[in-house]
């Protein structure tokens, strides 16, 4: 077996562009999905009954459908229904946000529900309103408690951006495929890409874990 890593050296700029897209798509998805997910989660836990039913249905549906299917549908089928064609990056951002936000809302819901009732009782005894209790007492503790699961979700999100290569988003995955095919060096290129993903993901998950260990006591009532 002879390995030839020269295609990677020769095309490092092309691959680095892909890496940049991967990072951009990851960050944009995380920000958007977190905001949407918080709204979904709060709506599910504290919203009126007529809102909870469709939100629960939406969240459970997203838990049931593969992200690949959401991506492909958003990119190929959505324009046929609406006449609006999204460029690959924006279609990927929309699809990933639709999908990941459902999981953010689940994590937030679990975090909120895990806080023991005595905390609400204490806040009520002080005379706080429902909105004040959520904002000042429950939400901050839930955020701390959801960190481990949120860290896993960050990792899942970054990995899921690689699936956007299927709709031709020029991310690290897609650029690697191109270089691998052009130079017929799939093993070298894909191995390098795997290492690159690992080097992004491993520190991210470790950093979240370390941060959680430092702040865990703030969520322990």
């Amino acid at each position: 077996m002879d390995f030839d890593f020269s295609p990677i050296v020769d095309n490092w700029g092309f691959l680095a562009q892909g890496l940049l897209i991967t990072i951009e798509l990851s960050v944009a998805t995380i920000v958007a999905a977190t905001l949407v997910g918080i709204a979904l989660g709060l709506g599910r836990v504290y919203g009126p009954g007529w809102l909870r039913v469709p939100l629960t249905f939406y969240v459970d549906s997203m838990r049931a459908i593969p992200v690949l299917v959401v991506l492909v549908w958003t990119f190929f089928a959505f324009p046929l229904v609406t006449g609006i064609t999204l460029p690959p990056f924006w279609a990927a951002l929309a699809a990933l946000t639709l999908h990941i936000s459902a999981f953010v809302s689940e994590i937030l819901r679990a975090g909120l529900n895990s806080i023991r009732p005595g905390q609400v009782r204490a806040a009520r005894a002080l005379g706080m309103s429902g909105a004040q209790i959520v904002r000042k007492i429950l939400f901050p503790q839930a955020v701390v408690r959801m960190l481990p699961a949120y860290g896993s979700l960050l990792s899942v999100t970054i990995k899921d951006t690689a699936i956007a290569s299927v709709i031709a988003v020029p991310d690290l995955m897609r650029q690697s495929e191109t270089i691998a095919a052009q130079n017929y060096a799939p093993i070298e290129v894909f191995t390098t890409a795997m290492l690159a993903y690992f080097l992004i993901l491993f520190p991210v998950t470790r950093a979240v874990e370390a941060f959680y260990r430092r702040v865990a006591h703030l969520g322990r009532s």
């Binding site: 838990r63 049931a64 593969p66 299917v69 993901l201």
Partner: protein
């Protein structure tokens, strides 16, 4: 735009076959990845440093690379590494097993570690041997913690099987995407694909919730 939903019915045989392959891949992966995960967990607990390090590398590496990339990688690397021509299904199965075994190993480790040491000590203080204490006291409690996580992994795995479509394993996603390109019934086929996944996945998600409620430990 005229829609022709008839195409879905017309290709029902192919779609049904895709569904069967999706289910087969899910079941086969879990069937291998449970013992696989236990093996990797035991590796990590080995007193031989090289073995426990290898176990840790396995878990950290395969949890921290995208599955779709792993599928491509397996597709090109397996034949060269082993000199065997793998079928697409077998290649997909290997990639899935590497990924899910790594997750399961971590699930098992966390499950066993979550049982307080006092439980083992209390059992041994009653006169049980270490292995009796593990079997009778620690493992039954650990199972209650492991089962809900395993159920969640199952649903993720079921959805992730769609990724092996990129190496032309004829499961549901690949089948539906193929029919789409043959018939140009894009909206119909993509919607049907989503609907079939939903029909299969929604009850699974609900069962997972039920398992979490039944076995979930709230502390």
């Amino acid at each position: 735009m005229t829609l022709d939903w008839n195409v879905v019915w017309q290709y029902r045989g192919d779609l049904a076959q895709g569904v069967l392959l999706t289910i087969a891949l899910t079941v086969a992966t879990m069937a291998i990845a449970v013992p696989g995960g236990i093996a990797v967990m035991l590796m990590r607990q080995s007193h031989v440093r090289a073995v426990s390090f290898a176990g840790t590398v396995f878990v950290e590496f395969f949890r921290n690379v995208p599955l779709i990339l792993l599928v491509y990688w397996a597709f090109y690397v397996l034949p060269i590494l082993t000199d065997i021509q793998f079928s697409a299904f077998a290649t997909g199965l290997v990639a899935m097993c590497l990924n899910v075994s790594a997750y399961n190993a971590e699930t098992f480790r966390a499950g066993v570690n979550s049982i307080r040491k006092g439980q083992l000590e209390a059992a041994m203080a009653m006169g049980m041997s270490r292995s009796q204490a593990m079997r009778k006291v620690v493992l039954p409690q650990a199972v209650r913690r492991i089962l809900p996580v395993l159920a969640s992994t199952w649903v993720s795995l079921f959805k992730d099987t769609s990724l092996v479509s990129v190496i032309a394993v004829g499961e549901l996603a690949h089948t539906a995407l193929q029919i789409r390109s043959q018939t140009f019934r894009v909206l119909e086929m993509l919607t049907a694909m989503a609907a079939i996944y939903w029909l299969l996945g929604y009850p699974q998600a609900k069962i997972v919730d039920w398992i979490h409620r039944k076995y979930g430990v709230t502390e």
